[in-house]
């Protein structure tokens, strides 16, 4: 088993005042997997995302990315380490064009500063061109190249989701963390999204996915963790999860 573990999170606890939002959550994701995180509403999935990407500070937990510990203390450090995320409510830079949005994604892997901006010497110009080219490549990869110069606010909902994914990919992440990318999509759009995710997996990327559409998840994910009330109640292959009585009870609401 020479599978490389991309993400290894153990023992995450997070309390908000009187509410224990996360209890002892562990996750291990191997390279190239699509890993799903499911659970009823309010189970703590987005909270978990926010913790591992540095938006919330955990009470306890150990965090390792590709074998190296990382500190989830600041979102930009997490991005630099190699986790890129999208948001449940889509957070694009609405007044920028699609291309510019993705170009911002390249920020963390480039370094031209004030002097490069003002004097535009050769290295700076070269980097700027590379940023632009790579951004166009990514727009093409997710299928919205023709909207490169459109203000992102004016894109269709499905295209905005794709754009957010392209922007996240621009950071050259080790792990792509997607928060409900299929929310609000119709069946056709979901199929398109599924294709895109499979394509991304095909490039060797690792994906951590939160979703509510259980059918989509079962068909797409290699492994899943199920959260309920902040606690992991099941972990394993889709087939195992589907048969797990605790999972069924959590979703059908026996005794909540």
């Amino acid at each position: 088993m020479s599978e490389q573990i991309i993400l290894k999170i153990a023992g995450v606890n997070k309390r908000f005042g009187g509410l224990q939002a996360l209890s002892n959550v562990n996750i291990e994701i191997a390279k190239g997997q699509i890993y799903g995180l499911i659970g009823p509403n309010g189970a703590g999935k987005t909270t978990f995302f926010n913790v591992i990407t540095g938006l919330y500070q955990p009470d306890t937990g150990s965090f390792e990315l590709a074998g190296k510990p990382y500190s989830p203390s600041a979102p930009h450090e997490v991005a630099k380490a190699g986790i890129a995320r999208t948001f449940q409510n889509i957070r694009l830079f609405s007044e920028m064009t699609a291309l510019e949005n993705v170009m911002v994604g390249r920020h963390v892997r480039t370094h031209q500063g004030v002097l490069g901006a003002i004097f535009r010497y050769k290295a700076a110009r070269k980097e700027e061109q590379e940023i632009r080219d790579r951004a166009m490549e990514l727009l093409d990869f997710v299928g919205i190249a023709k909207f490169a110069d459109r203000t992102s606010r004016h894109l269709s909902y499905g295209d905005q989701r794709r754009l957010e994914i392209a922007r996240a990919l621009a950071t050259d992440p080790q792990l792509l963390a997607l928060d409900e990318p299929a929310a609000g999509m119709n069946a056709t759009e979901k199929l398109g999204l599924r294709e895109l995710l499979v394509k991304i997996k095909g490039e060797g990327k690792t994906i951590l996915l939160i979703e509510h559409d259980v059918k989509l998840m079962m068909g797409l994910c290699d492994r899943l963790t199920v959260l309920d009330y902040g606690k992991p109640i099941a972990e394993g292959l889709p087939a195992e999860i589907q048969k797990n009585p605790a999972v069924i009870e959590a979703y059908l609401g026996g005794g909540h």
Binding site: G54, R91, E95
Partner: protein, 404 residues
């Protein structure tokens, strides 16, 4: 707009527009001279305001940080220049010697008898970078506590800083005299370029003689300030279309998403403050040398608000718009003064609404009317879809839930 500045999309039109502007700009002082020197002087001050507005545009327009204390950097640049180009430093040293002899004597040995007698007199080539650097430092200093604050609070805290600076300038004449308090610092040297003083030699009635030519001092300053403005326009424009510029806009649009994409928002915001402040400092430096004296009265909250009004009126974030807003709000009050007061005298026999009141009315109305009716400003950045040559089809309607 008949003027087009987009070099990439339509070079011919862009360069023609620039050429047209250049002709107008160069010819202006010579034409205006026919109506008296005061018009050129007014535009000289307008150019200073343009520099300030362009600097504030970085902070407010690009990065979206509402700084209500921006005038502090103008003050810093002006007073730095005042201390480095007038007899004031001699006074500073003397008062240290009187009040705190150990420190005073140490400083005397450092600076020497020449400075103790006459003060510091550096050349403009040194003073301007120093003023810019000092202002940039203050920009970071005053920006640092505001990094976690949201819009309203950021505004008030920066306002507070602006006031604190003004209060210090007004009161640092005791126990040691650094700023000379409410009286301000005078006898600031005019700008000397290659030995020629832009204020003209004594007794020349503010006219410069070069070779066989004579040119009024205000005209010389006009070209100097124009050159500086053009420089600042170029620099801010380049900043805008760069990795840093995109980072600023990203922070403005959605700070959390910006962080998630790896932008170190703390550093990027500090850069916005510093760069914006440095332009304020340069402008302040020019102001001090041009006017020959500085006093705390020139650096009130009202001035900060005026500069903000210029940015807002013109079009936040859009450089040509900001220049337009500056020209309108700097020159219009003066134009009105020359028109409205005589008219009132004619109609009513005396002036009911004087120029000062008119000026303030204009600023207040500008801000209110623009925000209520045209919040993007008089000349906002053209939308990408509105460009005549945009190669996309009509924007599609959203098919699902609109993004939050």
């Amino acid at each position: 707009m008949a003027l087009h500045f987009d070099i990439k999309k339509n070079p011919t039109k862009a360069y023609t527009s620039f050429a047209l502007l250049a002709v107008v700009a160069v010819a202006f002082p010579f034409i205006a001279a026919n109506f008296g020197n005061s018009w050129v002087r007014i535009i000289d001050f307008a150019l200073l305001y343009i520099m300030l507005a362009l600097g504030l545009n970085i902070v407010v327009g690009f990065a979206g940080l509402l700084d209500l204390g921006y005038i502090a950097f103008y003050a810093v640049g002006a007073y730095t220049t005042a201390l480095l180009a007038s007899p004031q430093f001699a006074v500073v040293l003397e008062s240290f010697v009187n009040q705190y002899p150990p420190i005073g004597n140490f400083l005397m040995t450092v600076f020497g008898p020449e400075i103790a007698q006459n003060g510091i007199h550096l050349s403009v080539w040194l003073i301007v970078p120093i003023a810019a650097a000092v202002a940039a430092f203050f920009g970071a200093l005053l920006g640092a506590p505001t990094l976690k604050l949201r819009g309203d609070y950021l505004a008030i805290v920066t306002l507070g800083f602006g006031e604190i600076i003004r209060i210090f300038l007004n009161n640092l004449n005791g126990p040691v005299n650094i700023t000379n308090g409410p009286q301000g610092i005078n006898m600031i040297e005019p700008i000397r370029i290659f030995g020629v003083s832009l204020a003209g030699e004594a007794g020349s009635m503010a006219t410069i003689q070069i070779g066989g030519f004579s040119i009024p001092s205000v005209n010389a300053y006009y070209f100097l300030f124009l050159a500086l403005c053009i420089g600042i326009v170029l620099v801010t424009s380049r900043l805008q279309h760069s990795r840093l510029g995109r980072a600023w806009v990203a922070i403005r649009e959605d700070e959390i998403a910006a962080k998630a994409m790896g932008i170190n928002t703390r550093n990027v915001k500090l850069l916005a403050f510093s760069m914006g402040a440095s332009f304020g400092g340069i402008s302040g430096s020019m102001f001090a040398a041009f006017q020959g004296f500085v006093s705390p009265e020139s650096f009130t909250l009202m001035e900060s608000i005026i500069i903000l009004a210029m940015v807002v009126l013109g079009g936040m974030g859009h450089i040509p718009g900001v220049i337009l807003g500056s020209i309108i709000l700097a020159a219009l009050p003066e134009v009105l003064r020359h028109v409205v007061e005589p008219v009132q005298k004619l109609l009513f026999g005396h002036v009911i609404i004087d120029a000062e009141i008119l000026r303030q009315l204009l600023y207040g109305l500008a801000m209110v009317l623009i925000m209520l009716n045209r919040p993007a400003g008089l000349w906002p950045a053209p939308k990408h879809e509105d460009r005549p040559d945009a190669d996309i089809d009509k924007p599609e309607r959203a098919t699902g839930v609109v993004a939050a």
